[in-house]
Amino acid sequence: MGAYILKRLISAVPVVLGITVIVFVIMSLIPGDPATAILGSYATPENVAKLNRDLGLDRSLPEQYFIWIGNMATGEFGRSYSLNRPVLDEVMERFGATLILAGTALVLCSVLGIVAGVISAARQYGLADKAITFAVLIGISIPSFFLGMMMILLFAVDLRWFPVSGMYLPYGGGDLQDLLWHLAMPAAALAVVATGVVARLSRSAMLEVLRLDFIRTARAKGVGERRVIWGHALRAAMVSIIPVIGVQAGFVLSGAVYIEIVFQWHGIGEMLVNAILKRDILLVQGGVVVVATCYVLFNLVVDVCQSLLDPRVKA
C-alpha cells in the first residue's frame, strides 16, 4: 500500500508541473506589457519596476518560468495589489472557506446521489425510479446560480429559515452552529447538480452490476434482497462510482464559484472573480495554482481509496 501511495505521489509531480506550465502559458497570453497588466492600470511606475525585477520579466520566457516556480516553491506568490497583502495568505484563507462549502456539498451529493441511484436501480421502471429520474433531470438542468437565488427568495426572504448570505453573523455568532446555519443553503444549492450526476451514474452502475452472475449467486444462496442490493451490488458498483465522485469534486469546486457569489460566501471563487474584474493577475495566478494542485492531490486520494476498495487493482 505504502509503495502504491508513493508511486502515485511521484506520478503527481509532473502533473503539478504541467499545471504551472499551463497557467504560465495562459498568463503569457496577456497582451501588452506584462508588469502593467499584472498590476493593473493603476500601478505606479515604481511598482512596475519592482515587479519586473521580482519576476525577471525582462528575461526570456523559460527563464521567467523557472524564476516563477522557484518563487512559488519557497512560498513566495507575490503580493496582491488590489488587497495589498501577500497572495498566499489571501488564497489560503479563502480556500479554507471554499473547502468547507465544497466539502459539505461533496459529501451531500455523494450520499444522496448514491442512495437515489441505488433505489432507482432497484425499482427500475417503478414509481420511485420515475420520480427520481425526473428529479435528476431537473437537478442537472437547473443553473446552480439561479437555483441559489430562488432558494434565497423562498427560504431566506419568505420563510426566514436561513440567512440570506454570508458565512457568519456579522456581529456575534461565529461558532459552529452559526456556521452550519449559514452553510445549509449554499451547500444544498451547490450539491444539487452533482447529486443528479452521481444519482444517474450510480443508477447505471447498479443496473450494470445487478445483471452480473455473482448477484445471481447471492440470490441462489438465499441472501435477502435488501442485502443483495446494498451489500453485494452496491459494493461492486462503488468501484465505478468512486471515480465519478472524484470527477464531481472538480465540478463542485467549479460550481462553488457561482454559489459563493450568490451567497456572498467569501471563498476562493469569489476572490478569483473579483481579482479578474480588478485585473489582479498575481492573485488569479496564485489562486489557480493552489486550487489545481490541491485538486490533483484530492484525486490521488480518490485513487488510493479506489485501490483499497478493489483488491484486484492493487500493486
Binding site: V23, S141, A220, A236, G250, L253
Partner: protein, 645 residues
C-alpha cells in the same frame, strides 16, 4: 460502434431512419425537441417580431411587473423591456453555447483522432497534455483564460470551448484506437491510401456517431457555462442582452424585484433541460448497448404469470418435481419459449443428468426451480415446481428465499464470474450460513473452514482470506461447491459445473462431487452438454431439445440403446467417455430458434428418420418401458421388444 450497429438497422430505410424512429419513440426526447424547437423559432423570428428595442432605457418605468401595459414580461432595473431582452439574450446564449460546442468538438475530436490513429509517441505526448488540462477543475482554467484575455463574450466562448476539449479528445481517442487496427483500415493502408485520406474516409465516418453523442450530452452544459461566465460579469458585457448577464444584473434587486432575475433564469433552465432531454434521446438511440434494452436488472425472483391452475401434485411426490413447466423470455414483441412443458422428477439422493446442446433450455430449467431466471425478460407461464410436493411457484418470496441455498443449492458454471469479486471467499461461505441460521460468527467460520477442507482445498485456513481472483479456476469451483454444501442441502443443482475448467481439473471436480454425494446422500440435478460426464456420474438421464425433454431413462439404458435419433447423434459425437468438452457440431443443422418452433417434432428438420407424420401434430413424451420415456414416432430401437428379450 456504428460498424457493429449498421447491420441491425439496415432493415429499415437505412440507419438514419432507424435512428429517427428510435428517437421519436422516446417521448421525453420528443418533448425536449418540441420545446427547443419553439425556443429556436422564437429566436429566429426575433427580427420580425414586434419587440421593443432591447437597449431603450426608460428609468421612471423600471421594474414594472410582468403583464404591465406595453411590457408583457415587465421591465428591468433600467426600465428596458424584459421580453425583448429575453429573446435577444436567448439568441446570444444559444449561439455562443453552440459555437463553443462546435469549436471544442472539432478541435477535441481532431486531437483524439490523430492521437488514436498514429498512436505511439504522438499519442503519448498529446494525451499527456490533455491530462494536464483535465487536472484543473474546469472553471479554474476558464477563469484563468478570461483573466488573461479580459472579460468579454468572445473570450468567454473561447474559455468554455478550451476547457471542454479534453472531454472530446479522450472519448474520440478511445474509439479511434479501437478502429485504427481494424481490417478495413489495414486494407486501406495496404491499398496505399494516405493517412489523411484514411482518417477522412474510414475513421471519421465511424467516430462521427460518438462525436454526436458527446456533443449532444455536453451542449447543454456549455450553454450553462457561458451563461455562468456572463452571470459572473466575465462574459457578455452590458448593455448587450444575454441571459446570464440579465440574471446577474437581476440579482442586485433579487429581493425587491425577483422577476428580473427569475425570467432569464427560467429561460436558461428550459433551454438546458430540453437540450439534455434531446441529448439523452440521441445517446439512447445511438448507443447499441442501451438500444437492445440490455440494461435491465433481474428481479429477486423470476416473474410468474401462470395461465390456468397448477397441475395437481403427483400421488407420490419426489424430492423435486417439475410438471409441464413453461418458461419464456419476453423481449419486446418477441417471445422466446425456452421451456415448452418440462416434466421431470428427482428422488432423494438421486442424480439426474439433463443433457442438451446450448439453447436447449437445460439451464433455464435449472434456474426456474428456485426462480433464478433473469426477469425481465424471463417469465414462468405455466406448470409447477414442487419441492416435496409443495408448489413453489405459488409460494411467497420469503419461503423461496428460505429454501435457496438452504435446502436447494446451486453450483454455477464459471466460478470467477459467479463469486463476488470483492468479498473474501471465507466471508462468502460464512454469509451462506448466516442468512439461514442465527449462529455466532466464529461457529460459522469453523463450519466454512470445515467445508473448505472437505472439498480438499489445501491451506484452507489461509484461503479463507483470499479473494476469488487469487485462486485458480479449480480452487474457485471448489469454493463454489463448499458454499453449496454448507447448509447440508437436500438437492444441489449443478449447472455445467466443470465446463469452464480444463480437462484434468474437470476430472478432479467430478470425482470430488461424486465422493461428496456418496458421503452426504445429497440429490443432484446435473446440467451438462457432455454425455461423457453424465455417463460417469448420473443415475438417470433426461435429454432436452428445443425446450422439451425428448428422452429419459436410466443412464446405462439410454447410453446403451438410445431410442431418440437426437440422443443417438449426441452420443455419437462423444469420442470416448469423459474426453472433455465436445460441442455438438457434428450434428447437421442447428437447433431451432425457440421463437419459431416447427409444428410437430422440433428435431424433424435435422432428423434422418423424419416422415411427414413427424411434422404434423404434437408428439407426446410417452412411457415406453417401466423406466423410460420417449418423444419420437420412429425410435432408433424398438424398446418394448428389447425389454422382452
Amino acid at each position: 460502434m456504428s460498424a457493429a450497429a449498421a447491420p441491425s438497422s439496415a432493415g429499415s430505410r437505412g440507419p438514419v431512419g432507424a435512428f429517427l424512429r428510435l428517437f421519436a419513440r422516446n417521448r421525453l426526447a420528443a418533448f425536449g425537441g418540441i420545446v427547443l424547437g419553439l425556443v429556436l423559432l422564437l429566436v429566429l423570428l426575433a427580427p420580425v417580431l414586434p419587440l421593443a428595442d432591447p437597449y431603450a432605457q426608460d428609468k421612471p418605468n423600471k421594474f414594472l411587473l410582468p403583464f404591465s401595459a406595453g411590457h408583457l414580461l415587465g421591465t428591468d432595473h433600467l426600465g428596458r423591456d424584459i421580453l425583448s431582452r429575453l429573446v435577444w439574450g436567448t439568441q446570444t446564449s444559444l449561439a455562443v453555447g453552440v459555437a463553443a460546442a462546435l469549436i471544442s468538438a472539432t478541435i477535441g475530436s481532431a486531437i483524439g483522432i490523430v492521437a488514436g490513429f498514429y498512436g505511439g509517441r504522438t499519442d503519448n505526448l498529446m494525451m499527456r497534455a490533455i491530462d494536464m488540462l483535465m487536472a484543473f477543475p474546469y472553471i479554474l482554467l476558464a477563469l484563468a483564460i478570461v483573466a488573461a484575455l479580459g472579460p468579454g463574450l468572445v473570450n468567454a466562448l473561447i474559455a468554455v470551448a478550451v476547457v471542454n476539449i479534453p472531454f472530446f479528445a479522450r472519448n474520440i481517442r478511445g474509439v479511434t484506437v479501437g478502429l485504427a487496427h481494424r481490417e478495413f483500415v489495414d486494407a486501406a493502408r495496404l491499398a496505399g491510401q494516405s493517412n489523411l485520406r484514411i482518417i477522412l474516409t474510414e475513421i471519421l465516418p465511424n467516430v462521427l456517431p460518438v462525436i454526436v453523442i458527446a456533443m449532444s450530452t455536453t451542449i447543454g452544459w456549455m450553454i450553462l457555462e457561458t451563461a455562468g461566465l456572463s452571470f459572473l460579469g466575465l462574459g457578455a458585457q452590458p448593455p448587450a442582452p444575454d441571459l446570464g448577464g440579465m440574471l446577474g444584473q437581476g440579482r442586485n434587486a433579487l429581493i425587491t424585484d425577483p422577476h428580473a432575475a427569475a425570467i432569464p433564469g427560467l429561460m436558461i433552465f428550459i433551454i438546458v433541460m430540453s437540450v439534455n432531454l434531446i441529448g439523452d434521446g440521441v445517446r439512447d438511440a445511438l448507443d447499441p448497448r442501451l438500444r437492445a434494452g440490455a440494461l435491465m436488472r433481474p428481479m429477486a425472483r423470476t416473474q410468474i404469470d401462470r395461465r390456468g391452475e397448477a397441475p395437481p401434485a403427483p400421488a407420490e411426490p419426489a424430492l423435486l418435481d417439475l410438471q409441464e413447466l413453461r418458461t419464456e423470455f419476453r423481449l419486446g414483441a418477441r417471445v422466446l419459449k425456452a421451456l415448452s412443458g418440462v416434466t421431470l422428477s428427482v428422488k432423494p439422493g438421486e442424480c439426474l443428468g439433463i443433457v442438451g446442446e446450448s439453447g436447449s433450455g437445460k439451464s433455464v430449467a435449472a434456474l426456474s426451480v428456485m426462480g433464478l431466471v433473469a426477469s425481465p425478460p424471463g417469465v414462468i407461464t405455466g406448470g409447477a415446481v414442487r419441492y416435496e410436493g409443495e408448489d413453489l411457484l405459488g409460494a411467497p418470496y420469503e419461503r423461496l428465499r428460505g429454501l435457496r441455498g438452504n435446502r436447494v443449492a446451486y453450483i454455477f458454471q464459471d466460478p470467477l464470474a459467479t463469486l463476488h469479486p470483492l468479498h473474501r471467499v471465507g466471508d462468502q461461505i460464512v454469509e451462506a450460513i448466516r442468512v439461514h441460521r442465527r449462529v455466532p460468527e466464529a461457529e460459522a467460520r469453523a463450519r466454512a473452514l470445515e467445508l473448505l477442507r472437505a472439498v480438499r482445498i489445501p491451506n484452507a485456513e489461509r484461503r479463507m482470506g483470499d479473494y476469488p481472483h487469487q485462486l485458480s479456476g479449480g480452487m474457485r469451483q471448489r469454493v463454489g461447491i463448499a458454499m453449496a454444501l454448507v447448509n447440508d442441502p437436500d438437492l444441489i443443482i449443478a449447472d455445467e459445473p466443470t465446463t469452464a475448467l480444463d480437462v484434468t481439473v474437470q476430472a478432479q471436480i467430478l470425482a470430488l462431487l461424486a465422493d461428496l454425494r456418496r458421503e452426504r446422500g445429497v440429490a443432484i440435478l446435473f446440467i451438462t452438454h457432455d454425455f461423457g460426464v453424465v455417463g460417469q456420474f448420473c443415475d438417470r438421464i433426461a435429454v432436452m431439445y428445443a425446450g422439451r425433454i425428448v428422452e429419459e431413462g436410466p443412464t446405462a439404458e439410454v447410453l446403451g440403446a438410445p431410442a431418440h435419433p437426437y440422443t443417438r447423434r449426441l452420443i455419437a459425437c462423444v469420442p470416448e467417455l469423459g474426453a472433455g468438452r465436445r460441442e455438438l457440431a457434428a450434428i447437421p443443422g442447428l437447433p431451432p430458434a425457440v421463437d419459431d418452433l416447427p409444428d410437430g417434432c422440433a428435431f424433424a428438420p435435422r432428423c434422418a428418420r423424419a416422415t411427414p407424420e413427424c411434422r404434423r401434430g404434437e408428439i407426446a413424451l410417452a412411457p415406453v418401458t417401466a423406466t423410460r420415456r420417449l418423444r419420437c414416432l420412429h425410435p432408433e430401437v424398438e424398446l418394448t421388444r428389447e425389454e422382452q428379450r
